[in-house]
């Protein structure tokens, strides 16, 4: 049972990417990113049977970093919300020409 988890992981990753591309709510985009990270975790775990326990250790690190990133990212969204009154990414246009 080697390839099935990898396929699932790929699918989840693709779905997460679609979510990042197509949603306008910043929080939902964030959640899609979390989904992508989880897909990667799944693929690591899937190969750990053949590579050793190092893969699972890697997953731990990924989770940790994901947590830190979620915290900071959400703090940023809160700060932005205070400025714009919404979390629609269409409002964030200061980098525009």
């Amino acid at each position: 049972m080697f390839i099935e988890p990898l396929v699932v992981s790929a699918l989840l990753f693709a779905i997460g990417m679609v979510g990042v591309l197509l949603r306008r709510n910043a929080i939902v985009i964030f959640m899609s990113i979390e989904l992508m990270l989880n897909a990667v975790n799944l693929s690591f775990v899937a190969i750990s049977k053949f590579v050793g326990v190092e893969a699972q250790i890697f997953v731990i690190f990924v989770m940790t970093v994901a947590a830190a990133e979620a915290a900071v990212g959400l703090a940023i969204i809160i700060a932005i919300f205070r400025h714009y009154g919404s979390v629609d990414v269409r409002n964030f246009r200061l980098l525009r020409w």
């Binding site: 990417m17 306008r24 200061l94």
Partner: protein
Amino acid sequence: MVGAPVLDLLRALVQEAVTHEAAFAPFLPSWMILLPFIGFMINGTVAYLAPERRKLVTIVGPGVLGLAFVLAAINLMLMAGVQEAEPVVRTYWTWIEVGQLKVDAALQIDQLSIIMALVVTCVSFIIHIYSIGYMGEDPGYARYFAYLNLFVFFMLVLVLSANFPLMFVGWEGVGLCSYLLIGFWFTEPAKAEAGQKAFIVNRIGDFGFLMGMFALFAYLGTLDYQGVFTMAPRAFEYGGPAVTLITLFMFLGCTGKSAQIPLFVWLPDAMHGPTPVSALIHAATMVTAGVYLVARASLLFALAPLTMTVVAVIGGVTALFAGTIAVQQFDIKRVIAYSTISQLGYMFLAVGVGAYTAGIFHLATHAFFKALLFMASGAVIHTMHHALEHAGEPAGEDMSQDMRNMGGLKSYMPTTFKTAWIGALALAGVFPLAGFFSKDEIIWSVGARGQTVLWIIAIITALLTAGYITRWLVMVFHGANRAGEKARTHLHEAVALMTGALVVLAIGSVVTGWVNIPEALPLLPEFTWLHHFLHPSFAAAEHVLVEHLGEPAHASPIGGAEGMWALISTAAAIVVILLVFQALKGKKYLPVREAKEPTGLLGILYHKYYVDELYDLIIVRPFKWVCMFSWRVIDQGLIDGVAINGTAYATRFGGWVLSRFQTGYLGTYVLIIVVGILIILGVVTL
């Protein structure tokens, strides 16, 4: 930097004055050139700072010329004393030294150059004296003498140089001075344009000279006369393409400078300048530079028989062509101008058939009697101008110079009248005046070398010459005066300075012919001094000609010896003069206000065969069109519009397009990142 050559020059000058050499030792040759230059500097400074100081200019201007003439005479006598003197080259400093090319500032004193220098300084000196009287009231007095001195300086550089580039410096310099002097009264547009025309047409010729020089250097690697003429017979094959090309190009320069077909159109317009300028530059000196070039490079020309033919044919045709035009001109100076073109044609005819001495001989005699004729015209114009002004009538050039307003001036200007007759007879070639000997020798040489057609053309032109000059005399000096009642009372003889100069030139017109009396003439002592004197200069060329073409015959194409033909030509000339005189003496010419333009055949002659109009049509107009096109379409439209502005616009547009990518919108950036990743992944996995 500048000081070094000047110091060298000073050192050389001092050395010159004290050294003596075994053979011919030239006496201060560089001072012949320096004196006019000093005159230019002084007069130029006066003209610039204090134009009213005429006394100084009057002394310096002609003074330096007088000294230069004395020097030239001394050197001539020194040289004449030595049998077959070798040319002496004096090098003053190295001018150009680049790669294989080495050109020095050097003067060559030999028979040909000293004769030329003598003619130039003598006639220039006389004309300077004349100019004191002629330009006495002109506000540009100092400037005039400055330019005139500069001109003589350049002319002497031209004839005394020892290599082609230095000659070209003189060549260009006289062209420049011609421009300055023709357009001397530059505030009148017609005169300024005449100066421009002269310079531009000359330039075309200069291009030819330059190409000839370049080709010469390419083949021989040197441009010094000594070097070139030593190497030429071995380096060039007789009649080969190389030497033919070189000489043809050089001849193009000659047609420009000496006003032959096709570049003669500037000379009649040059009559807009002051009359002494016309006398000096456009009769005696500058226009003869072309003849001098052919004579100097005689060896090269002798090696190219095709070019010699071209030279002779153009000379002959131009002589006839200009002679016909002179028959129907009404401006007193224009007649003489076309006569000059015609006589220059004679000189080229002579050097074109290999009669180099005859050509130079005619050059010298022509200098005297043509200058005389011009200066007589000048005296007449001066008087007419004064008279019309005092009478309150229009006194512009078209009035004071038109012969239809003159007539009967012999009673008002006796000295001018007599000297003008002498000059006219000399021009017509009547024995014993100068023109007879020189012109006769040319006609004889042409015939003796078997050129029948050219010989006939020369004879016809001689008769034409007698005709038009008689017409000129009759219209100006004989018959009834047409200047009008009021003006007539103010007519008087010219000032003493002017008439004095006229007399001197008249004497010269008589005497200069006697330096070369051929043996063939009956009753006269043989005195072929000029031939012998100039022989070393032309020995090499004549050797080549004899080698390839044989000796010239001693009979004309239709038989008869030289003596007989000399008699015939003089007699014919006298007959023509008498006929024309009788025909026109009583003719009632209408003054300008009432006269109509000639029509028909005479009209074509009057309009100079419409050559100027033709040139305008086929050369000037297309050239202007090309310029307009280059300006509007290429420069403004293509280069400015498309290349420069277009590039800027394209850059800006590209920038605008690319700026659309920066929406500032997060989603766009994510999309771009994703697409990029997909592409990379695709490349990696596939």
